[in-house]
């Protein structure tokens, strides 16, 4: 009879809350997950192949569209790599503006995540508040670049716009409000009893596991891994504006909440530093249309962790090969391993805990002893998770 109780629960590929689809299969014994696999590619657009048929400038636009949330870091990684191959460096003011945008982007990304993760845990009020406050940074991004997404800041060799006095004041005012709100959020996620029941000790990943599974970014730092490209291999203007490492030894969902929230304070501090010490000068430097032949590796810290670009130029107007390894790919491996031994009801939280740039599910099929079956939507799985904890 035991064997009959083992179900495979397919989750995915569509999910209305997170962006991008992904498909997970959890084998469960009763309520406990015993195995997990992942299938990706539902939004595979062939960008790496497409890069080989486009020139460097066109590719800058193409690669900015890899991700709608952290678009700026993608374009930055490509621009930095191409500049290194061409043997040029963007002027200091351009580097500072890139860094400023990177940190504003991190704020919007972390706040977006905070809302989504709170929603999955059944904490709608926190979701509403954090997304309301996120509009402040969205307005700042729009006022600087003209866009809410795909800011299109970069050129190969510089940036497209300057930060004026007016922007300067706007940004300082905006992050002052955000900083107050973030203090409140940190207090909420670390003291609210109901919410702690969903995060404390859940999705535990030890330091050894995080290293073995190759986790990156806040997911790794919440397991005590001291790894941040902004510190390990500073790029843009990070050498002038050093970042302070934020880690936590907890390794559970609570630690991931703490790390991301505390990183917001670090971003506010950096933005003030940059604005108060903005280097004067040009915004662009001349770059040849043909990038000299060679290979380079460009690594930047995206909101979700290390973003890795391998770029090969053959000396023509078009790149020979651009390989992109996004941080979510590293963190997926950790989810499929960490999920084992946890309750099915914890899956929505564990999945959103890594801030995945994928999305999961619009329905799940419960295969029930081979005879009856029922179809659940993601919404129902989420409710099931919330109900499960309410009854305990």
């Amino acid at each position: 009879m035991e064997a009959q109780r083992k179900f495979i629960v397919p989750i995915g590929p569509q999910h209305p809350a997170l962006k991008e689809p992904g498909h997970f299969q959890f084998s469960v014994e009763g309520e406990i997950v015993t195995g997990a696999t992942v299938r990706l590619g539902y939004v595979h657009r062939g960008i790496e192949k497409g890069a080989e048929a486009r020139n460097w400038t066109q590719n800058l636009y193409l690669f900015e569209r890899i991700c709608g949330i952290c678009s700026h870091v993608h374009a930055t990684a490509l621009a930095l790599g191409a500049e290194r191959l061409a043997g040029v460096e963007a002027p200091p003011r351009a580097q500072a503006i890139r860094t400023l945008m990177s940190e504003l982007e991190r704020i919007h990304s972390h706040m977006l995540w905070l809302g989504v993760a709170a929603h999955e845990g059944g904490f709608e009020t926190l979701f509403m508040y954090s997304w309301r406050d996120r509009e402040i940074v969205m307005d700042l991004l729009e006022s600087l670049s003209g866009n809410r997404v795909n800011y299109s800041v970069n050129l190969i060799g510089g940036v497209k716009f300057d930060v004026t006095e007016k922007h300067h004041d706007e940004i300082l005012k905006g992050i002052e409000i955000l900083e107050e709100r973030t203090k409140h959020y940190l207090k909420v996620v670390t003291t609210d009893r109901t919410f702690l029941a969903r995060t404390r000790g859940v999705g535990l990943m030890t330091l050894q596991q995080a290293e073995l599974f190759g986790a990156v970014g806040p997911t790794a730092r919440a397991s005590g891994v001291a790894r941040d490209v902004r510190i390990d291999a500073p790029y843009e203007a990070y050498p002038q504006f050093p970042v302070r490492l934020v880690t936590d030894d907890g390794g559970d969902l609570l630690a991931r909440f703490k790390v991301r929230t505390r990183e917001l304070f670090e971003s506010y501090r950096l933005i003030r530093e940059i604005l108060n010490h903005m280097p004067p000068g040009e915004l662009t430097t001349r770059v040849p249309r043909r990038i000299p032949a060679g290979e380079t590796i460009s690594r930047v810290e995206a909101p979700r962790g290390e973003l890795f670009y391998f770029i090969k130029s053959n000396g023509s107007e078009k790149p020979e090969r651009i390989k992109v390894r996004t941080p979510s790919l590293c963190n997926w491996a950790s989810v499929t391993q960490v999920a084992i031994g946890h309750k099915l009801a914890d899956m929505p939280m564990i999945l959103s805990g890594i801030d995945p740039c994928f999305s999961c599910n619009d329905r799940m099929v419960t295969i029930n002893r081979g005879s009856s079956s029922q179809v659940w939507t993601w919404e129902e799985l989420r409710r099931y998770g919330i109900e499960y904890y309410r009854q305990r």
Binding site: G41, H44, R299, F310, R325
Partner: protein, 169 residues
């Protein structure tokens, strides 16, 4: 540990298997190895706790065209390890005619996703990899078509059928 010390250390660790080494950039070390040396070399890096396995890149090198010296088509597989700012790349070349490489999953379990990507994009078999199911390409993608090889330039538009576009919903 600063970058140059880290690279020197890596060079010493990998020295027994290195066919050639290069330093394309100050923070990088490229080590060309035989495919048979892949597992021992990766094991040595992991055992010495040198950095972490960051990415796997496939590079297609198609056979030479007319008028060039004869060269067999091959896929170069790059294993990138990062330790702070230092990046070490193990470079292994496999010919089209025998496109096989040992899976490194026994040493680094999280490499499974990267290997699945290599298998379907470049047609390199990863011997011993735990899962060979499709990761990125659609279910109705034809067998034996490897999109990131240079020889792939898109499908011929078949009649009444949208090429390059999965119809499996």
């Amino acid at each position: 540990m600063d970058t140059s010390t880290a690279l020197e250390k890596a060079a010493a660790i990998l020295q027994p298997w290195a066919l050639a080494t290069a330093t394309p950039e100050p923070n990088r070390l490229d080590v060309v190895i035989e495919r048979g040396s892949l597992i021992p070399a990766v094991k040595a890096l992991v055992k010495a706790r040198w950095g972490f396995f960051s990415a796997l890149t496939g590079l297609d090198q198609p056979p030479s065209g007319d008028g060039e010296p004869v060269r067999e088509g091959c896929v170069e597989v790059l294993y990138h390890f990062c330790s702070a700012a230092a990046v070490v790349t193990l470079r292994v070349s496999v010919p089209y005619s025998d496109a096989k490489i040992d899976s490194i999953c026994e040493v680094i379990p999280s490499a499974t996703l990267y290997e699945r990507e290599l298998i379907e994009m470049f047609g390199v078999e990863c011997t011993g990899t735990p899962n060979t199911e499709r990761l990125l390409l659609s279910d109705d993608w034809p067998e034996g078509v490897y999109p990131l090889r240079k020889s792939f330039t898109g499908f011929q538009q078949a009649e009444g059928q949208e090429a390059n576009h999965g119809s499996a919903a």
